[in-house]
Structure formats: C-alpha cells, structure tokens
C-alpha cells in the first residue's frame, strides 16, 4: 500500500536539491542549534556559576573576564544567558507540543466526524480565540500563582485553537478525496483511515504552523517573566533578566537588559525563518 503523497522528509530533501542554498536558513539552523546545545550542556559551557555574585564585577564591561559583561550584582551575563536559554527554549517547546497534540485531536475529530460535534468544537474554539494567549497566561497566574507551570498549561490551551482550525480544514478537504473512499470500500474502519492515512497527510502543514507558533510562544513567555509573573527573579531566565536589569537602564547600564532582549529577537527570527522555509518546501502553504 503506497502513500498517496510523499512524506515530509522526501519533500524537504527533493526541494533542497532544486533550490540554491539559502543562507538565512542555514544561519538560522546554526544559531538555533548552537543555543540549544549551549543550553543542554550549560554546566560545561558556562564560564561562571550563573548565580555567583561578585561585587568587584558590578556592571563590568564586556572583556576577557566577562565576555558579555556583568549585571548589577556582578553576575556574569554570558553564563546567565546560557542557563537562561533552558527555560526560554524548553517552556515554548512544551507549549508547542501540547498545543499541537490538543489541536490535532480537536481538529481531527471535528473535521472527520463533522455534524454537531464539528459545530460544538467550532464554537468552543471561537470562544477560546476571543482570549489572547498572553491574557490567558496572566489569568492562569492570577489563579494558580507565579511560575511557569500555570502559564505553560494556559498557553498550550490558548494556542490549540489555531492548530485545531488548520487541522480541521485540512482533514475536511482530505476526507472528500478519492483515496479515503477507496479505503472505505475496502472495508477499513473510519478511525483507522483518519489516524493512519489522513493524519500523516495533514501532519507536515500542521507541523510547519506549529513551528511558527514556537517564536510567538517564546516571546510571550519571556514577556510574562519580564512582567515578573513567570520565572522568578534570582533564577537565570531571559525575560526575568530583563525585568531585573530594567532599573539599570535609567542609570545608563544597558547591556544586562539589552542582551537577553536581543537574544529573544534572534531566536524568534531564526524560528520564523526555519518555519517559513519548511512550510514553503512542503508546499501548499496554509489554507484558510
């Protein structure tokens, strides 16, 4: 039994042979890989303990001792950036995986079953879409207290409708295609066709969309920590670092706040470049 459309891997490989090497794509992958590796191996890579306070290094300028300088307590900015990348990257990753799972389940059920189930799920998604993601996250903190757990769960719910709508429309159009009817005639169960044959066909487009969500989630969670509602102050986290260092800006000490801010932008750009490139390569673009 052959698949009606090539897999994601084949599509990406095929098109990469056709295209010229895309510089921004390569750079984005290298940057993200470097940050991810640094975050994973933080204890080996970071030159200092991220929480080590050194009063002789207060607002130290970048130099051999501190490559990116030091903050108001003399903590090494580079080390804090490396450790901070852990929460900055891991939390959005969890959100993207959870919201994709939730969205695909809802979208698949709605698109495959149709009827009243579709109508009910559609209404539920409409209501959820009336709540901006950051607002749900703030609300979750108000209910369950500060930290990352409540916002991550809240954001997973907040982003699910985007995935669900896309999945729903893809599945609904896929359902009408001849190969589905062919499986039905052969006596395959509806659930089996949906999960084993339709889902793989819509997965690449949904995956590309989810990748693009990563950047937004990362920025929003960093914003939450910047507000002092997410990761709490002494912990090294990009958003929390900006929050802590904001007071120094007025005194002319820009770097401890600007460096994590720039890092957020770089990661968001890199993820978006990769996400758009992948969705270009698998073709089709996003319907709706």
């Amino acid at each position: 039994m052959s698949r009606p459309t090539p897999t994601l891997a084949i599509k990406v490989l095929r098109s990469s042979r056709r295209r010229r090497v895309n510089a921004s794509w390569m750079i984005s992958i290298i940057v993200l890989a470097a940050i991810t590796l640094a975050a994973i191996f933080a204890p080996l890579v970071a030159p200092y303990d991220p929480d080590h306070i050194d009063f002789t290094a207060i607002y130290a300028n970048p130099g051999w001792a501190h490559w990116l300088g030091a903050d108001a307590l003399g903590r090494d900015t580079l080390s804090r950036m490396i450790y901070g990348a852990r929460t900055a990257l891991l939390a959005p990753l969890v959100v993207v995986i959870a919201s994709t799972f939730l969205g695909v389940v809802l979208g698949l059920v709605a698109g495959w079953r149709g009827g009243w189930l579709d109508a009910v799920i559609g209404r539920l998604l409409d209501v959820l879409l009336a709540f901006p993601a950051l607002l749900i996250a703030i609300m979750a903190v108000a209910l369950f207290g500060k930290g990352l757990v409540a916002p991550v769960i809240a954001m997973s719910i907040a982003y699910a409708p985007f995935v669900a709508r896309l999945t729903r429309s893809l599945v609904a159009s896929e359902r009408a295609r001849p190969y589905v009817a062919a499986y039905r005639v052969q006596g395959f169960a509806g659930g089996w066709i949906a999960l084993r044959r339709v889902l793989p066909n819509v997965a690449p487009t949904v995956g590309a969309q989810s990748t693009l969500n990563f950047g937004y989630v990362l920025a929003e969670l960093a914003g939450l920590s910047f507000l002092g509602l997410g990761v709490q102050a002494p912990t090294a986290d990009w958003g929390a670092m900006i929050n802590e260092s904001q007071a120094g800006i007025v005194g002319g000490y820009f770097l401890p706040a600007i460096i994590p801010a720039v890092a957020v932008v770089i990661v968001v750009v890199a993820v978006n470049v990769i996400g758009e490139e992948v969705s270009d390569r698998i073709g089709g673009g996003t319907p709706t």
């Binding site: 209404r123 409409d126 209501v127 009336a130 709540f131 901006p132 950051l134 607002l135 703030i138 609300m139 903190v141 108000a142 209910l143 369950f144 950047g215 920025a219 929003e220 960093a222 914003g223 910047f226 507000l227 002092g228 509602l229 958003g239 900006i242 904001q246 800006i249 007025v250 002319g252 820009f254 706040a257 600007i258 801010a261 720039v262 957020v264 932008v265 968001v268 750009v269 978006n272």
Partner: protein, 317 residues
C-alpha cells in the same frame, strides 16, 4: 437578507460573549479549596472581612446564581469591589481607562499609517529592491516583542538621547501625547508587519485587475488610479486584519505600561495579579475579551459598507 445576516452575527456575538464571560467567571472554581481563602490570599482577614467577601460574591449561593449576580451587576456598571484599593472595581478601572485608550489609539494609528504606506510602496515596486527591503524590515520588526521594543526605545531615546521621557503619562493633551510616543511605538513595531503584508497582497491583487488597466489606458494619472481604483478595493482585507490586531494591542498594553511606568489598565492588570486582587483581574480580562469580540463584530458588520462586493458575494451564495 441583510437583516438576517446582521441578526445571525449579533446572535453569534452574544453567544460568544456569554460563553467567554462564563469561562472568566467559572475559572475561579478550578482553584481547589475554600473560595474565601482564595479571594483573600496573602491577607489576614477579620471575620467581618470574610463575611463581606462572602456577601459580595454571594459565595453561599449555588455557582450559577453567583454567575448571574456577577453578570447582572455588570449591566449596572458594578464589577464588585477591589481588594487592593478600598474602592469599586469600576472606579479603579475607569480612572485608568483614558490613558490606555489613548495608548491603544496612538499605536493603532501608527500601525495603520506605517503599514498601509509601506505596503502600498512595496506593492507598487513589486519584486524590486524597495519591495524586498520593506518586507525584510517589516518582518524583522515583527519579531520584536513589545517588551524588547520598550527597553530598547527607553535606552536609546529616553536615556541616551533624552528626547522623550522614560516614565509616566504626563498631564494635559500635548504632554500626554509626548509621553505616550515611545510606548505607542514600542507597541506598534511588532504589529506593522501584518498590516503591511496584507496591504501589499491586497494591492498587488488589485493592480493586476482589468479595471485598473482600463483606468490606466483611459489616461487617468497613476495616483488617481491607485487612489480610486486600487486602494478603495484593497481596503476590505486591511480593515479585517486591523480588527484582529486589537486583541494583541490590548494585551500588549500590560507589558508596555509596566515598562514605561504608565498607570493604565494594562499595568493595573499586572499589579492586581501581584497583589492578589482577583475581582479586578476578572473584570479587566472580561473587558479585553469583550472589546476584542465587539470590535471584530463591528468590523464584520461594516465590511459590506466598505466593500459592497462582499455583500453582493454573500447574497449570491
């Protein structure tokens, strides 16, 4: 036809609002334990204070009755009492609403003006350097979240160059605009890309239409053609996307107002979360959701007026 359409949209709007308000209200029931203890977290309440909270929220009533009390109160402008200020929630929010409204309006104006102009230029020079440059810059701006924009603008234009104040919202009309300039730019940066791209797409589509070629071949000036035959037809999608941006803008106020020390509704939301003032949080969340949903419903209803083809298309269906 139109009345049925308007009625349907209004019905859907009301249903969404009812469900959204129920979600906001019943979220409190997700927190395990005694609701009195939840509402008075971090405080050492006297028995009288506890009784007052039970009375105010009707905690001794069944949940759905509490909800109707809450909703019913809102129709009288009564959102309950703030726990951090000894004042009505309506007063607390009302005092801070004008600044936030000003901030949102200023930044919406910046987004629309810059987005539409940039998108138009890009469409006219499609495929050429100006087009690519504009798209690249807008896309890069789109990756700058409001908190990053805020601290960079504060560092450069408030602290380094001293052109603008870094703090507060000023008094009087002109001073307020002066104070809100950096904050509204910080908020606008990330959203310009959407309007810019939609404008470009919509204009490119219109530019290749036959009636545009006809208008050009009739000898009308390029500017007239663009203004009367391209731009007018391209307005619809721009308007729709503009409505969708409102949600993001309203939430972004919480970040930008906190960064710039502006006493508005956004910073009040953050402050209320910090000070465990749940009635205010609930009211602001509902306010944001309502303004977003209502704005979009208005945009939806106005669309056929801006673009009669949309109405015609729907009638034909």
């Amino acid at each position: 036809m139109t009345i049925r359409r308007v009625g349907g949209k209004l019905g859907s709007l009301v249903l969404t609002l009812v469900l959204a308000s129920a979600l906001v209200f019943f979220s409190r029931f997700l927190v395990p334990g005694d609701p009195v203890n939840f509402l008075l977290r971090g405080r050492k309440p006297s028995p009288e204070a506890k009784a007052a909270v039970v009375e105010q929220f009707g905690l001794d009533l069944p949940p759905w009755e509490q909800y109707f009390r809450w909703i019913g109160g809102m129709f009288h402008g009564d959102f309950g009492r703030s726990l951090q200020f000894r004042d009505a929630v309506t007063t607390v929010i009302g005092d801070r609403l004008p600044v936030t409204a000003g901030l949102v309006i200023m930044s919406a104006v910046i987004i629309v003006v810059v987005g539409v102009i940039a998108g138009t230029i890009a469409a006219l020079y499609r495929g050429r350097f100006a087009d690519r440059a504009i798209l690249t810059v807008l896309t890069a701006f789109g990756a700058i979240p409001p908190f990053v924009g805020s601290i960079v603008l504060i560092a450069v234009f408030a602290v380094q160059l001293r052109w603008f104040p870094a703090f507060g919202s000023g008094d009087g009309f002109l001073d307020t605009i002066y104070h809100l300039t950096l904050p509204s730019i910080a908020m606008a940066i990330a959203f310009m890309v959407l309007i810019g791209k939609v404008t470009r797409m919509s204009m490119v589509e219109q530019l290749s239409r036959e009636h545009v070629h006809v208008a050009t071949s009739r000898g009308l000036g390029r500017l007239t053609v663009i203004r009367r035959h391209v731009f007018r037809n391209a307005l619809g999608p721009i308007f729709t996307v503009g409505g969708m941006l409102i949600a993001g803008l309203l939430v972004a106020t919480s970040i930008v107002e906190s960064a710039f020390g502006i006493a508005g509704v956004g910073s009040l939301l953050v402050q209320s979360v910090n000070r465990l003032d749940f009635p205010v949080v609930q009211a602001i969340v509902l306010l944001v959701v309502t303004s977003f949903v209502v704005t979009n419903a208005i945009v939806d209803l106005l669309e056929p007026i801006i673009d009669p083809r949309a109405a015609a298309g729907e009638a034909g269906r």
